[in-house]
Point group: C2
Chain length 159, copies 2
DNA sequence: AAAATTTAGTTGACAATTCAACCTTTAGCG
DNA sequence: CGCTAAAGGTTGAATTGTCAACTAAATTTT
């Protein structure tokens, strides 16, 4: 019993009539790559990269977080985030402390310097990347984009 | 002169009222990561990874391509793609030949074995990942998702 | 409450990616 | 034509990411 109509076949990679240009994940990957590359340009001159940036941004917006939380939101395997965090600590961007309530948990906090860097990046990228990407988008369209992406995310999150 | 309404501020990372959960690129990155992770599960057992998969898929759908074209569509820096391609050649998935018309260009072609692997992956991932991700999506919604992503891509592509 | 399991994080060995520097071949230009 | 620049690709060194194995703290079982 299939819940999909014949028309959906075009979007299905295993179908004969499949067209990669109509496959949303192809575009998700390319948009992500393009956005990352654009960010890189801004980050490089200040000795940052996307990995560090993601962690810093999450810390700025979500406040102090454990390594696991960072792995979840900033996207990455635990060992990867661990190493990024300690590189960032060596660079003076974050502090790492054991949680009071749970001895296993390492809480990462942005330093003053870290906050300054985030503000600087936001300042430089906002006009350069954000407004360019959404040129011609109305508010409902941005909202719609977000909604659809969130739904994809939720669907993929479910085991 | 600004073309954006006050309401758009919420989506703008540099704005005071910015909410990272309403920032589309945050979701683009997370969706991409989740999709990749899901694909990885299928690819790992057959000795593939996402990088190889992207290259193979592009070759399957676009036909023989130069290294630069692969770098563009499969997303990656030139040296990265070069190395992936030669790893794939050593694994018997592709052939590499100099272009007839331009001595600088290396044309990459999927072998029989390569095609077989792509078909196999498509077969295994289609039901597992694609249909799960788009559960509850109507055809117009998938179409809309694609449109919005393409627009973002085009906007970001423009210098 | 002791033993077993799970959760959170770290580390070292290995694999993959990236940056720079380089080599060819092609395209432009006076 | 001959010179210079640009395009396409490759390679080695350095960086970064990943897997597997491990430690320690907390939770669950019994």
């Amino acid at each position: 019993m299939t819940t999909h109509s014949k028309k959906l076949e075009k979007y299905n990679p295993a179908s004969e009539s499949f067209d990669i240009k109509e496959f949303p994940f192809y575009w998700v990957a390319r948009v992500n790559a393009l956005y990352s590359r654009e960010m890189e340009k801004t980050l490089k001159p200040m000795g940052m990269d996307i990995a560090r940036w993601r962690v810093a941004a999450i810390l700025q917006f979500n406040g102090p977080s454990s390594i696991s939380e960072l792995a979840l939101h900033a996207i990455g395997k635990l060992p990867t985030i661990t190493k990024i965090v300690y590189r960032m600590r060596d660079a003076g961007l974050v502090e790492v402390n054991a949680s009071e309530s749970d001895g296993r948990v390492a809480i990462v906090t942005l330093t003053e310097e870290g906050h300054k860097q985030v503000d600087m990046v936001l300042d430089m990228t906002t006009k350069k990347v954000f407004s360019r990407a959404f040129k011609g988008f109305s508010e409902p369209q941005i909202k719609k984009t977000n909604e659809l992406l969130k739904r994809l995310f939720v669907n993929l999150s479910a085991d």
